[in-house]
Symmetry: C2
Subunit: 405 residues, 2 copies
């Protein structure tokens, strides 16, 4: 069976979704539960309904849009991604997997395909850690990786609890809810572009860990406190950020990456010695033991800096998830779908973090990558070509047809 | 002649002024031109009027409260300081020099002193650089150190121009406006406490310089971009902050201090590589050549980091003022006034930045320091004892009487 993606419509929907943003184009800012995010999700729900799908939303905002199959007892075939975006991001991260899946479902309908198993588009809430400091919030709750009780303790940067936006209790899906789950996503890395492949079949998702480091020193007037008397929190933070880089490079493995993405300084005035700094550090590897060794090295560096600079340094592991292997049978289904496309494709690991990492706990899961220019993501100049997006959606359509038959 | 300071009233006025704050006690936040700052200045104007002084305000908010002397042709004796406060500051910085001077003037009146020269309390606007990125805005304009045209180019962090708050043109005072100027201030350093002296006579004010460093690298997803491919702006910033410390220590002089007080990171998400960092750096020394050598070393370090990490690093000198020597005759007057107090006093330099630095350009100027606990300033736990504050005000009263006679 062959499927035709309405590329013009898919691209136009991506452009429309990009207009829901709190930053000026081309930068996209869509923080979960913001007014802009709510409007984007309302638009998306309408779009799913208009496409003939039965839409429901759980208590914290995960969206489920279902095309009912002929066998009401069969577990569903799931697909989807997220639409929230970090400050000044691009318009393809997550959204290609949501609107691409919707285009794939419409292509199946247009081809008069009749699914035996239901096909369900799942739009995860809060994939980005921007607001609550933890990524993949929706899929963590759906998979039971995060308990409702633990989620109730989460607050955003302004101190507002997650619970104010919805009850996170009892959201876990039964393990027989999905027969399979496939996420389409831009690669967010340079490999497909380098090898010239149009499609990537993900065999495993790297194991991410996130650390928060709170550094307390002693403030004071920048003109008055002599250098030997200082306990400057920012200088401690500077040493730690450089140690994070050194620890990642020291493994010698190209798959080890570590990033200090957050560095907030108080009081933050030119004539005041920094008394307090908050760092947030992201450490990933495809190898769990190697990643944990980097986490350990960073914590050790924090302790060394604390002792040498007489600072109080508290480290907290925000999350340290295990890597996920993708399902071998689904990898075979995707391989077959990619072959039908008659373009280059390759198997690869995902170093980026995805909701599929958690979905793999409750369903056979795989991911399909499409290229993005220069491997750039989480930036306004993130770009994926119309051809690559359509190729990805069409390949997803083939896989869904195979799985839902 | 002996003067009696009404200590209870002075302390109570300091407490009242502390209630004008945008942070919870004991932290004081009073950003220039905020609603809170406006209310505090309105209260202060009323207080000066009630104390029998003729109050005027210039176009940008410098306050002048004058006790007219018997000789209308004589240049005035000026005294004063500022009342704006950085975020989470204490309640004595600046305010002791304003309310202490007012208490001194009331003490002179109570003692039936008749000034020949007018005595004028001057409350400078925007001493702190918090809002406009430049310290001593009021005294820079009054002294002509900053032109009205240059001031018109200043904007606050939200991009609002200074001009929206008042016209900075034509504010410079004539050089014969003040016969002398004395600023009473807490030391903001540990020296008086260490030596047990109750009073410090400032012989010179250190030469501050401020640099802004804008670092541009390349953002991207923290999971996806490999370590060798990164151009992480925060890692460059970390190296520069450590180089600032190293450069200050390398002079070997205890009077050299350098601080990176501002470090703002974009996009500032745990899973995004920092693409942009703004640093603001404060470098001070009592010796101009030595300070300028540190500025040069910091700029050199920025260039080295830029080259090694393939970052774009722009450095801008926000200000690099010359140090000021206090007036020898005024130092003698203060010495005599201190002797009358029969407590320990000593001569010292001020490493902190004061409006007196600029007033010294248009009038013979000196400063009188009182101790503060632990040398702490710009913090909620900033503290000066009632006894020390009253001693400072009484010594100032003696000096004013001598100078206005």
């Amino acid at each position: 069976m062959d499927f035709e993606i309405d590329g013009a419509r898919l691209l136009s929907e991506l452009e429309t979704l990009a207009t829901f943003s709190d930053s000026a184009a081309p930068a996209i800012t869509r923080i979960v539960y913001s007014e802009t995010d709510r409007k984007a999700r309302a638009w998306l729900k309408d779009l799913c309904s208009q496409s003939g799908l039965a839409v429901r939303e759980d208590a914290i905002g995960n969206l489920f849009a279902r095309w009912h199959g002929t066998d009401p007892d069969a577990a569903a075939v799931g697909t989807g991604s997220h639409i929230d975006a970090i400050p000044n991001a691009g318009k393809y991260d997550g959204t290609v997997g949501v609107l691409g899946a919707l285009a794939a479902i419409r292509a199946l309908r247009a081809a008069q395909f009749t699914p035996r198993k239901s096909i369900e588009l799942l739009v995860f809430i809060s994939e980005e850690p921007t607001r609550f400091g933890i990524g993949c919030l929706g899929s963590r709750l759906l998979s039971g990786a995060l308990s409702g009780a633990a989620a109730k303790r989460l607050t955003d940067r302004a101190g507002k609890p997650l619970e104010d936006f919805g009850d996170p209790e009892n959201l876990a899906l039964p393990t027989n809810y999905y027969a399979s789950f496939i996420e389409l996503h831009i690669e967010q890395g340079p490999i497909l572009e380098k090898t010239g492949a149009a499609l990537g079949i993900v065999t495993g998702i790297a194991a991410p860990a996130a650390l928060r480091v709170l550094i307390d020193g002693e403030g004071g007037h920048a003109g008055a406190v002599l250098m030997p008397d200082r306990r400057d929190a920012l200088l401690g933070a500077a040493e730690i950020a450089l140690a994070v880089e050194a620890a990642a490079r020291a493994t010698g493995a190209i798959d080890t990456v570590a990033t200090t993405g957050v560095c907030e300084v108080s009081p933050g005035a030119v004539n005041s010695i920094p008394s307090h700094v908050k760092l947030e550090i992201d450490i990933r590897d495809t190898d769990l033991a190697r990643r944990d060794a980097v986490v350990k090295a960073v914590i050790q560096a924090c302790e060394t800096t604390a002792a040498q600079r007489k600072l109080q340094v508290k480290t907290e592991i925000l999350n340290a998830d295990a890597p996920a292997a993708c399902d071998p049978q689904l990898i075979e289904v995707l391989t077959e779908a990619c072959r039908a496309e008659r373009k280059g494709f390759q198997r690869m690991v995902s170093r980026a973090y995805h909701d599929s990492l958690f979905m793999s706990r409750i369903a056979p899961t795989a991911m399909l990558f499409t290229p993005c220019r220069g491997g750039v993501s989480h930036r306004p100049d993130e770009y994926a070509s119309a051809e690559d997006i359509v190729t990805g959606a069409r390949t997803l359509a083939r896989a869904l047809a195979k799985l839902a038959a």
